[in-house]
Symmetry: C2
Subunit: 214 residues, 2 copies
């Protein structure tokens, strides 16, 4: 058998759901299975940032050319800069049998799924609205106004939940458990019949000689 | 939140794929999560068999009445006797949050899936036709003729594989690993968005008060 192709998984969730910590936990605990995707951006590199490590840095005309050529899985514009996920980087990893986890917002996630239906959409959420608010307040770094605007956004975003393939609870202090759940989802997706074409062909050929009357 | 409903999973595979050993391993390792389904049958109880333990024993007219009333998930006739899976027993377990694993053949499995699309179909197979033959021979209990007829049946049954949701390899001497894979598939299925309706409703309600302008 050939090497199993990697899975493209997208993790989304409300601001305050703990996506960043979760993704770090997955990459550190299951390092050999996953690759982070490296985004392309038109913003200037900051002190110490290296092209191809934190980001692929590129000029606006280059980025716009790549948009034209459909070279991004998804992209978005924030303030004056573009951010995007280069397809070739992601697909190279998948071909190598490495799964790629993207942490992107819901509209981008649904667009990727539309284009690549085998993408696995995972929605990560605290168990209750109260806990989401408590976490945002607990950070202690944001003004009431910012917290209110994040909660207002969550109230809008909740309508996207049922478009996701899986909903995973990220409970307080249980990030390792949540990471294990996501890892098992991705390992399980690899066992979907659509990835067993070669095995089925080999078994069909191997069994043919046992057929009666042949 | 209410208790998560159990998952109805069906395990099928060629004769010699190791389904029986696998199912035993799952039930002993993850005992608290699963219930075996108890079949109904019209055959006579053997010495020591107890009604409601090994089987629900019933007379033919009773069984046929239950067929009419659509009380079986699936049933089949072997030689002169009926065997069937009573719906109420299975659904009671699922309602209690206990997953039920049925070990049934492919045509029955597909009929259950047609009626209950949330059923998870898992096809268990050795990696190659050669290994299947070696296992059947290795049992040392069957005549060449019986082995030939089982392999001939496998050659027919292989066409059902791609109707299954998952294909799981059961490699020699790795039954614990195979049981863990099946368990993770079932745990993962519980995280499918369709089972999160209540959570989504609660979050939607809980977040509503944060909406802007409300």
């Amino acid at each position: 058998m050939n090497k199993q192709r990697g899975i493209l998984a997208i993790i989304s969730g409300f601001s305050g759901a703990g996506k960043g910590t979760l993704v770090k936990e997955i990459f550190s605990t299951y390092a050999e299975n996953y690759s982070l995707s490296i985004s392309a951006t038109t913003r200037q590199p900051r002190e110490g940032e290296v092209d191809g490590v934190q980001y692929f840095f590129m000029d606006k005309p280059v980025f716009e050319q790549k948009i034209q050529e459909n070279q991004f899985l998804e992209y978005a514009q924030y303030v004056d800069n573009y951010y995007g996920t280069p397809k070739d980087f992601v697909f190279d990893k998948l071909d190598q049998g490495i799964s790629v986890i993207l942490e992107i917002e819901m509209q981008g996630a649904l667009k990727v799924k539309e284009q690549y239906p085998e993408t696995v959409l995972i929605f990560v959420t605290p168990p209750t609205a109260e806990e989401l608010e408590a976490r945002l307040r607990g950070r202690g770094t944001e003004t009431d106004e910012v917290i209110a605007s994040r909660l207002a956004r969550a109230a809008e975003e909740v309508v996207y939940m049922d478009k996701y393939d899986y909903v995973v609870l990220n409970e307080d202090g249980k990030v390792a458990e949540c990471a294990a759940k996501v890892h098992h989802i991705i390992e399980t997706e690899k066992k979907r019949t659509m990835y067993s074409g070669q095995l089925i062909n080999e078994l069909t050929e191997g069994l043919a000689r046992y057929k009666k009357g042949e």
